[in-house]
């Protein structure tokens, strides 16, 4: 479904992603873990078309997308949830959700999807007409995930959805991702600091360190190097 080949990305002289090749197959949940500053967000943003790569290629269903504008990549079904609370803070909860359906034109079904999300996330339902900026961090994270799901992505990329959340909220976020995987067979590329839970949930994983993929495969949670560096055992 998604194929990244020999990708290089730099910020001026800083080389943030070096010769990265990864793959995500349909229906898979793939985890990408690595220390701070490893280049995880950079990689995701480049795949999403937000950053331009120096060299290498990105294919979505065998179509090259590395020269496409970010809005066009999203319209191809590859939707990214940015790091941090990427709600539209001056807009209401419901407006955020409506814009999740911006790429679709089946208005009746969008309305149904929005209703379904409000049922699934009662906290959002209670705060429908509140400005998103007034929600708590966890609620905002729910909102961006719900908003992304309303766009019905063929591939969803989540950049640290549990960042800065209390354990209970983190568990809730992982429950949602698990639900997406089992119930809806959504294809997901997940970046997480929370390596244990991410690897547990994912079908496969990649470890990114200083811009390079250093380990990959299924069962990374059992790999001694990963256990020592990321799982603290």
């Amino acid at each position: 479904m998604l194929r990244v080949e020999n990708l290089h990305v730099s910020y001026g002289k800083i080389r943030a992603v070096r010769d990265v090749s990864i793959e995500v197959n349909r229906g898979e949940v793939v985890a990408l873990i690595g220390p701070n500053g490893a280049g995880k967000s950079t990689l995701l943003k480049t795949i999403a078309g937000i950053l331009k790569c120096e060299s290498g290629s990105v294919f979505l269903q065998d179509e090259p997308i590395h020269n496409m504008a970010a809005a066009e990549v999203a319209r191809k079904g590859l939707v990214m949830v940015l790091e941090g609370r990427s709600t539209l803070k001056n807009m209401t909860v419901i407006e955020n959700l409506i814009l999740g359906g911006y790429m679709r034109s089946d208005h009746a079904e969008i309305a149904q999807d929005i209703q379904r999300m409000l049922e699934r996330f009662p906290a959002l339902k209670a705060r429908q007409s509140q400005r998103a900026g007034t929600l708590s961090g966890g609620e905002q994270q729910m909102l961006v995930i719900a908003r992304a799901l309303i766009s019905r992505p063929s591939l969803l990329m989540l950049d640290e959805p549990s960042l800065g959340l209390a354990p209970l909220m983190t568990a809730e976020i992982f429950a949602i991702i698990r639900e997406l995987k089992t119930k809806h067979e959504t294809t997901i590329l997940l970046v997480e600091q929370n390596a244990r839970q991410a690897l547990q949930l994912a079908d496969r994983g990649y470890v990114l360190e200083t811009g390079r993929i250093v380990l990959e495969g299924a069962g990374l949670a059992d790999n001694p190097a990963v256990r020592e560096a990321y799982l603290g055992v």
Binding site: A48, A69, A74, V79, L99, Y102
Partner: protein
């Protein structure tokens, strides 16, 4: 007396508000002060005048024609003089300087075409006046008020009820988040210029109607008033622009009525400076747009 002055002030202020909305919409999506906007307003007034003269049509036709013409000019200004400069990622002031340039060009084109003299702006409205208690409303005033308030209401409905309008607010808040939602911000920006300029063009005709005269230089004064109204209301905030315009209009008219008329602008700007000294971000301003 006071009621009458307030009504007159609101009428004048509503045209300021229309102009201020143009600045604030463009500022919202591009963080750019569009300094040719006053000239877009002026061209709108002249297009409206030509339509009235040639077709013998009424004021409403003139307003529609002026809005369309201004929208086209506004989009061309963006496509030809702003976007190419933004694409080169030069100094942040470069696109603003470019808008000053195109403003001067528009002024000179208007001077060559229509002459530097003030020209009369006829209206074919019956000069009816209604007396409601102590207040007198003329048909021209009624048109100006209903058109400007109607346009503001329409803009409010557009940005809060339509997906396109929400996308415009999203683009103003964060282009990166907008892109992840599939919003093509380049098109939204173009649409923003069209709407901003159309409001300015309509305001041009309304000002022509209320002062009965237009000149190629009218964009300078009115542009500054519009800019001030935007600042007063809060950069990038459309409701701020509406309120800011009204406040300046009312203060101006009341200062003429009760103080010295030769100080009308000075007094209006003293009030603006006072308000900004107390609330530097304007009445509705947030830190958001200022800090980007």
């Amino acid at each position: 007396m006071l009621m009458q002055q307030i009504l007159n002030g609101v009428m004048l202020g509503s045209t300021y508000a229309l102009i201020a909305l143009g600045y604030t919409l463009v500022f919202g999506v591009l963080h750019l002060v569009h300094l040719a906007h006053g000239e877009v307003f002026m061209i709108g007034a002249f297009v409206g005048l030509q339509v009235v003269l040639w077709s013998g049509g009424g004021s409403l036709l003139a307003i529609v024609a002026a809005s369309v013409a201004a929208a086209v000019i506004g989009m061309l200004i963006y496509l030809l003089t702003i976007r190419p400069i933004l694409a080169r990622k030069g100094h942040f002031l470069a696109p603003m300087i470019s808008t000053i340039g195109i403003g001067i060009v528009l002024q000179e084109v208007a001077t060559r075409t229509f002459g530097a003299e003030q020209v009369g702006f006829p209206n074919r409205l019956e000069a009816t006046a209604w007396h409601i208690g102590p207040v007198t409303v003329t048909s021209v005033q009624l048109i100006i008020l209903s058109v400007s308030l109607g346009l503001m209401a329409a803009l409010h409905i557009f940005v809060t009820r339509s997906r396109m309008g929400m996308a415009m607010r999203a683009a103003a808040e964060s282009s990166v988040i907008s892109h992840t939602l599939g919003i093509r911000t380049d098109r939204i920006i173009l649409l923003t210029f069209a709407i901003a300029s159309a409001l300015g063009g309509a305001a041009g005709v309304l000002v022509g109607l209320s002062f009965n005269a237009i000149t190629p230089y009218m964009g300078v004064d009115m542009g500054i008033k519009g800019l001030a109204a935007m600042l007063l209301g809060g950069l990038g905030n459309i409701y701020g622009a509406m309120i800011g315009g009204m406040v300046i209009g009312v203060v101006e008219v009341i200062s003429v009525a009760y103080l010295a008329s030769s100080y009308r602008d000075a007094f209006a700007f003293i009030v603006i400076i006072a308000v900004l000294a107390i609330r530097p971000r304007g009445i509705f301003g947030s830190t958001h747009h200022v800090e980007g």
